[in-house]
């Protein structure tokens, strides 16, 4: 069981690296969806022995929202646009990957300095959570397209979820559902905004929006 949870955590790290190195948008969305599914599965695996209905429902809800509804919403926004890839991010893709390696090292270092966090959690939960947050933030500041920035936001939220998993064994149901609802609303609004942005300007390039005048 612990081994399986370990593998899931590693897969989360690998999905982060994959998103950093990808330029086409639809695989990016699929990778983030896969990451969401992994994070939905993680608490189930961690509590296989003391499974409750509440936990199962919670995991199912988070998996459905992150792995099915978000990719559907974003995919719908993407289909309307002409751009299928992130052409010229502010930081190149290879440089992004190199930055990812640095983040990994930094997350490991910071994780090792937080001795009282995440005891009893699978070994690398805390560094992985920190790394996922770093990657999400980095995506938000280093990419041009509004869509990839939304993906960065989602990744950051995934990181926070991972941190929560490592930090507290069981969060109150209301808190958990509240966070999920918040994220859902945010992505819902962002999806609509993307759609309208694209209809108005025929592109999703956030950098070009700074030049807007009336």
């Amino acid at each position: 069981m612990n081994l399986l949870a370990d593998v899931l955590v590693i897969l989360v790290v690998l999905t982060n690296l994959r998103v950093l190195g990808l330029s086409r948008l639809s695989p990016c969305i699929r990778t983030v969806a896969f990451q969401g599914a992994l994070l939905g599965l993680l608490p189930v695996l961690a509590h296989l022995d003391d499974m409750t209905t509440r936990l199962a429902l919670q995991a199912a809800a988070s998996t459905v929202i992150k792995a099915a509804i978000f990719p559907w919403l974003l995919g719908r926004a993407l289909r309307g646009t002409g751009s299928q890839r992130e052409e010229e991010p502010f930081v190149g893709l290879t440089a992004s990957l190199a930055a990812g390696v640095l983040f990994l090292a930094a997350a490991q270092w910071i994780g090792s300095r937080l001795p009282h966090v995440g005891q009893g959690a699978p070994g690398h939960m805390v560094p992985t959570a920190l790394f996922t947050m770093f990657v999400g933030l980095f995506m938000i500041v280093s990419r041009r397209l509004a869509l990839t920035q939304v993906l960065g936001y989602l990744i950051m939220e995934n990181g926070i979820t991972t941190f929560g998993l490592a930090f507290a064994e069981k969060q109150p149901l209301l808190v958990e559902l509240g966070i999920l609802l918040d994220v859902f609303m945010a992505v819902f609004v962002m999806g609509i905004t993307l759609f309208h942005l694209n209809r108005e300007f025929d592109h999703l390039d956030a950098a070009r929006m700074t030049e807007l005048r009336d």
Partner: protein
Amino acid sequence: MTALHLPLALAGAPLLKGVINRTKAFYAGRTGQPVLQPYHDLARLLRKGAVYSKTTTWLFRAGPVVSLASTMAAIALLPLGAVPALVSFRGDIVLFAYFLGLGRFFTICAALDTGSAFEGMGASREAWFSALTEPVLLLGLAAMVKLTGELSLTDLAASLGPQAMLEPGGAAILLVAASLAATALAENSRIPFDDPATHLELTMVHEVMVLDHSGPDFGFIEYASSLKLWALGSLVMGVLLPVKTGSQGFDLLAGGSSLAALAVGVGVVESVMARLRLTRVSHYLAGAAAFSVLALMIVQGNP
């Protein structure tokens, strides 16, 4: 009965290229050249005379000899599964990496010594690739050292195995195997990093550097490149699938066949993948470096 890896490698290395060629031919629907063709090529090259340009110096002649010698020395440090290496001491991992580096350095010097523009370009690309692969190789090996606590390649191979993968941190072994496999393909100038069968000097990386060598010198280079394939291949298979039956003879046989399987794998990769655009190579190697660092992180988290 201890150090049988070196003679097996010296005798069997060209066979790997034959296996790769046959696999590629099978995928293309051809019969292909005989599996033993690389041996015939080597014999033919060794019978010929060598031509040296008047503008070259001793560096040009030293290149093939040093690269062959350093690759042989590197293999002397390598175990094959449970078969121990000829020489083994604490820290031979670093020496192994730098034997490969020494051979590469002299190949690059020999290419620059000819003064040809094409060869200079190839040398620059080769130096660039190796600057990217060396950290991947060393970081991956560092992760394995940290996992097993052993500092020599032979002890390292002895403590890896199927049961090591199931212990905490065992996933690191798979990650290191993947990044070492990428390193092996890049170092041996195979697809997707370089195309060994290309016919255009502009697109060559490794092949263009040895264009001016002829006769026995070129035979040395060919033989050294087969040995390098064997060396990095046995490193990958040693991490991924170390075979330990208990009997030296069986171990040797199993190690040799795992390398043949690896050669078939390389042939399949070459048949189904296209060569990467040159600017994407650094991207892929950065990914391999990320694998190595991740492995190191996993191992660090499981003391």
